[in-house]
Every structure is written in C-alpha cells, then in structure tokens.
C-alpha cells in the first residue's frame, strides 16, 4: 500500500478517509438498538396547524414541523386534495399532482393580472442572459420559429385560394 500511496502523492489528501470496513455488506446505518423498533420517539412540539396541510396516507399524522409556503387553492388545490387521498406508491397520487402544477401556472398568470401585474415572461425566462451569452442560439431558435409561422401562414393562404 505504501507504493500505491506514493503513486498518488500529487493528490492532496489521497486515501485520507479510506475505510476498509466500508464494503458493500457493511451497513451505513448506525443502529441504535431499541429505538429502531417503533414510532415511539419523543416527538418535537407540534407546529400549530392553522393552514390547510395535507399529509401522506402513508403516515398517521402531520409531521411536527411543516412548510407554509403556498397552501392549496383554486382548481389546482382541488386536484391536490384529490391526489393526497392516494398512497405515495400509486399513480393516482402523482399524475393529478402534475396536472395541478400545470393548471397552477395558468392560475398564477390570472393572479398576476388580478393584482395589476403583467408578467414579463421574457424576463422571467432569463432571455437577456440567453441573448448575452448565446446570441447565435437565440437567433437560430427565432429563425426556426419564424420559418414555422411562415409555413403555417402560407399553407393557410394556399388552402383558402384552393377553396
């Protein structure tokens, strides 16, 4: 091993954390005995549940703390409530959630307009950075988009004249 270490003397810290006991059959878990058996640990103080918080059907309760960032609301909220009726291992839990996420985007735009804010989607997408660092890429995308629009318009005009 000395020879092996010499081969790597140019790499700072080589082998400093080597652990021969850490082979695939050596468990990472540091079992603590009795406390691994059940749901009987001393729970932290419960955070007051004063907003709508869902909990997974695969646990009996709300965890002692939880995030309060965006409680469910609107149509997306209804879908989320439906999704939380399903266990985590079922598609019923996750597919409605993805749909809710997409609906939530539309709700977000409506909410922006309702509060007098016009969303600047170009700025939100960081297009300024794209233009600054990837100008040719942006122009290529713009050219492709322009070509597709022109093709659709030409096809429509041709269709009208044929009719």
């Amino acid at each position: 091993m000395e020879t092996l270490a010499n081969n790597y003397s140019h790499i700072k810290g080589w082998g400093i954390d080597a652990d021969p006991k850490n082979d695939p059959t050596y468990p990472m878990r540091n079992r603590a005995g009795e406390d691994t058996k059940s749901y009987d640990w001393q729970r932290p103080t419960q955070q007051p549940i004063d907003i709508e918080v869902h909990h997974s059907t695969e646990r009996p309760n709300v965890s002692a703390v939880f995030g309060t960032s965006v409680p469910p609301s609107g149509l997306s909220g209804m879908l989320r409530r439906y999704a939380f009726k399903h266990p985590e291992n079922q598609y019923g839990r996750w597919l409605p959630m993805l749909l809710a996420d997409r609906i939530n985007v539309v709700e977000g735009i409506i909410e922006d307009f309702k509060t007098g804010k016009v969303p600047n989607i170009i700025a939100e997408k960081g297009m300024k950075a794209d233009w600054q660092h990837n100008r040719s890429g942006v122009m290529k995308k713009a050219a492709v988009a322009a070509f597709l629009v022109a093709a659709v318009v030409a096809w429509n005009m041709g269709k009208k004249s044929r009719d």
């Binding site: 091993m1 092996l4 790597y8 810290g13 080589w14 082998g15 400093i16 954390d17 080597a18 652990d19 850490n22 082979d23 695939p24 990472m28 878990r29 540091n30 603590a32 691994t36 640990w41 729970r43 932290p44 103080t45 955070q47 007051p48 918080v53 869902h54 997974s56 695969e58 646990r59 709300v62 965890s63 002692a64 703390v65 939880f66 995030g67 960032s69 965006v70 989320r80 985590e88 839990r93 996750w94 959630m97 993805l98 809710a100 996420d101 939530n104 985007v105 977000g108 735009i109 909410e111 922006d112 969303p119 939100e124 997408k125 960081g126 297009m127 300024k128 950075a129 794209d130 990837n134």
Partner: protein, 384 residues
C-alpha cells in the same frame, strides 16, 4: 423582503414577499448572506417535480446571520453566522438518531419517501427556501451550524449540499484503495464526487459528461480523467474497454432526472413525464459497473417510476447505495478538510450574481451558458 418567485416551468422572478416568521418554538429566522442554485433546483425549474406550486421560493443551499430565534432554540443565537444544511431534521426521530438526517420523519407531512428540504416543492415539505433575503429555519438546534472563524462564506455555502453530497457519493461507493471509480455527470456534485473519490483511496477516477468546458474544469479541479460521451460509440463499451473488460469497481450517478444521452429516456422521462425523469446515467452506471460492484446514486429522480435494467442488477450482483446526503453527520469531517486545505469548495464557483438577477442566473445555469459551473446568489444586504 426580496425573494425568488416560481411562476411555472422555466419562469422565475424576484418579487417582494412577506417576511418569514417564527412558526414553531425551534425555528430561527436568518438573514441570507449567500445562496446557491443547485442542479437539483433545475428539476423544479423545469416543472418535473410534482407539487411544485406557483409562488414558492426555491433554494436549499444557503448561509445566513441569525436574526431571531424561537423559545426552544439553545444551540445558536442572534448574530451567529450559520450554514444551513439542506435537510430539515428534528434530531429526535428514529432516523435522525441513526444519523440519517436526510430521512427525518418529523419534517415532511406530504411524503414519507423524502425528508423535509428547504425550497424543494411540497413533495419535500412545502418550505420556502433561501433564494431570498430572509428564510425560516426549522429545528434550529439541529441543522444550522456556526461557520468557523476564518472560513470564507463561499466555502461555507457549498458545505450545505454540494460538498457533503459529493463526499457521500464517494463514501457510499465503498471505495477501496486502488479501485476504479466512474462518475457520470460533471456538474458541481459530480466534480466534487470525483475529487472525494481520491480521499477514499481510488486508484483511477473517470468522469463522463457531454459538456466540454465542464469536462475540462473537472479534469483540472478533480485531477481525474474526463471523457465526452458524445465522442464515444457507446459509453458502457468504453468503460468496459478501459477497465480491462471487467467494468468499474464503483459507478456514481451524479446526474439524476435531467440526463441526456438516450433519446428514449429523454422523451419518456423529460418530455412526456412517463417516468420520473430520464434515467440514462443510472442505466449506464448499472451496465458499466463490474460484477459485484457498487452503484452509488446521488442524482435526484421524481417520486414515480424509472426504466432501469434491474435484471442486470440481479445478474451482476450489484449493490446499490443511495440517499440524500446526511449533511449534519458529515460536516465535522468536511469542515476539517476545508480548513486543512484538502478540499477547496469555492473553487467550484464561477458566477456571483445579485439576487435580483435570479431569472438570468437560472437561465445561465440551466442552459450551461458562459462556462457556468456553480452560481451563487448574493442578496443586497450581503453586498454592502
């Protein structure tokens, strides 16, 4: 306060939002001094993580100065400059007692499969994150760690996720002296995993990606071999050939759901969401590791299913190890490594961006523009 505001896939902006408040006796409020955009934030940014709600603030890698503490907080005090591990952990549940701080059972009501994570959708607890001027930090007696005197805040902020995740990726690999380790993904975590593989005595470290500037960076930073899979006929074939036709002793998936390199995986995983992200890197890892080898997964996938060659796992007798990094468990050793100059986390930072320019920062990072490896966001109060 100013805070990042998610508006939908590929759309984020900075907005005025209400200040966070103490909601639990073990909470603290910190004034953020640094926060990063992580590769795993891109799963949220791209809209691939279920239950990512419009209006949420992302950010699970941050440092800050304690502004206020709840009545049960004893381990940190107002004025302390702390680094905040990305895991929210109670320290009391059966999993925390086993030092599985990434698997706490008292921090996420919404899903049992993942513990609470700052700013990482409601699937990970619904917490706002640190890409803001202020953040609420639950269980302040457990996670937040006072930044040692003299430590650069840029080093400290990378100890909240990137360094421990890269280190744990290597640790879970069970690397033995002289082993060949292949890391898939030359993002910040992959580069750190490659660097840390040497600490465990690897004999050869190879990193594989498609982005040339990142490979070049990895080669210098982690002193490893770096290869572009776009220049290969077949990645697995390449690994087999370069390892005397046996495969690598250890393969690390440091990519997760956004992987490129396989059209079928990309279409079904990233475009159609028929699986929980593209499992290309994991697929390669399983096929490129030698029989009886170890696959270590730190790349993040969504909660549904992925297409991977599980038959090969059985037939090759592979051990798979995976987890969210247990940051608190690893911090003492990693702080030591940083202080002794063994690890240089801030060397990964290529972009220091004002918090107000967050939309551009996300674009630069996600599109890999301007040779970006790791962007750090700096709020106005930390720029004075």
């Amino acid at each position: 306060m100013l805070a990042m505001n998610y508006r939908g896939p590929l759309r984020v902006r900075i907005d005025e939002k209400p200040m966070p408040k103490i909601e639990h006796p073990q909470d603290a409020i910190v004034r953020v001094t640094r926060s990063c955009i992580c590769g795993s934030d891109l799963h949220l940014y791209n809209g691939s993580m279920p239950d990512t709600r419009v209006g949420m603030t992302f950010g699970h890698e941050f440092t800050g100065i304690v502004e206020e503490v709840g009545s049960e907080v004893t381990k940190i005090k107002v004025g302390d400059h702390v680094l905040v591990p990305f895991n929210i952990a109670c320290g009391q549940c059966v999993f925390c007692k086993q030092e599985l701080y990434g698997n706490c059972h008292e921090s996420n009501p919404q899903a049992t499969a993942v513990g609470g994570i700052f700013g990482y959708s409601h699937t990970a607890g619904g917490y706002n994150g640190g890409q803001a001027e202020y953040a609420r930090v639950p269980y302040a007696n457990v996670g937040p760690t006072v930044i040692p005197e003299g430590m650069d805040p840029d080093d400290a902020v990378l100890l909240t996720d990137v360094v421990p995740t890269g280190y744990q990726a290597a640790e879970m690999g069970g690397i033995q002296k002289g082993d060949t380790v292949v890391v898939f993904g030359a993002g910040p975590v992959g580069i750190m995993a490659a660097r840390c593989a040497w600490l465990f005595g690897a004999g050869r470290v190879i990193i594989i990606d498609e982005v040339e500037y990142r490979l070049e960076f990895a080669k210098n930073y982690a002193q490893c071999e770096a290869y572009n899979f776009r220049e290969m006929d077949d990645v697995v074939q390449f690994v087999k050939e370069t390892t005397d036709w046996l495969g690598a002793d250890v393969c690390i998936d440091a990519v997760g759901a956004e992987a490129a390199g396989n059209a079928m995986q990309t279409i079904t995983g990233r475009k159609l969401f028929l699986q929980a992200g593209s499992a290309t890197a994991l697929h390669w890892a399983i096929n490129a590791v030698k029989k009886g080898g170890i696959v270590s997964i730190v790349g993040i996938y969504g909660p549904t299913d992925n297409l991977v060659p599980i038959g090969n796992v059985v037939n090759k007798g592979i051990t798979i190890r995976a987890n969210q990094a247990s940051v608190k468990r690893l911090l003492p050793r990693l702080i030591e490594h940083v202080q002794n100059g063994i690890l240089n986390p801030k060397g990964l930072i290529t972009h220091r961006v004002p918090l107000e320019d967050i939309s551009d920062a996300y674009r630069i990072f996600s599109e890999k523009l301007d040779n970006c490896i790791k962007p750090v966001l700096i709020p106005p109060s930390a720029r004075i």
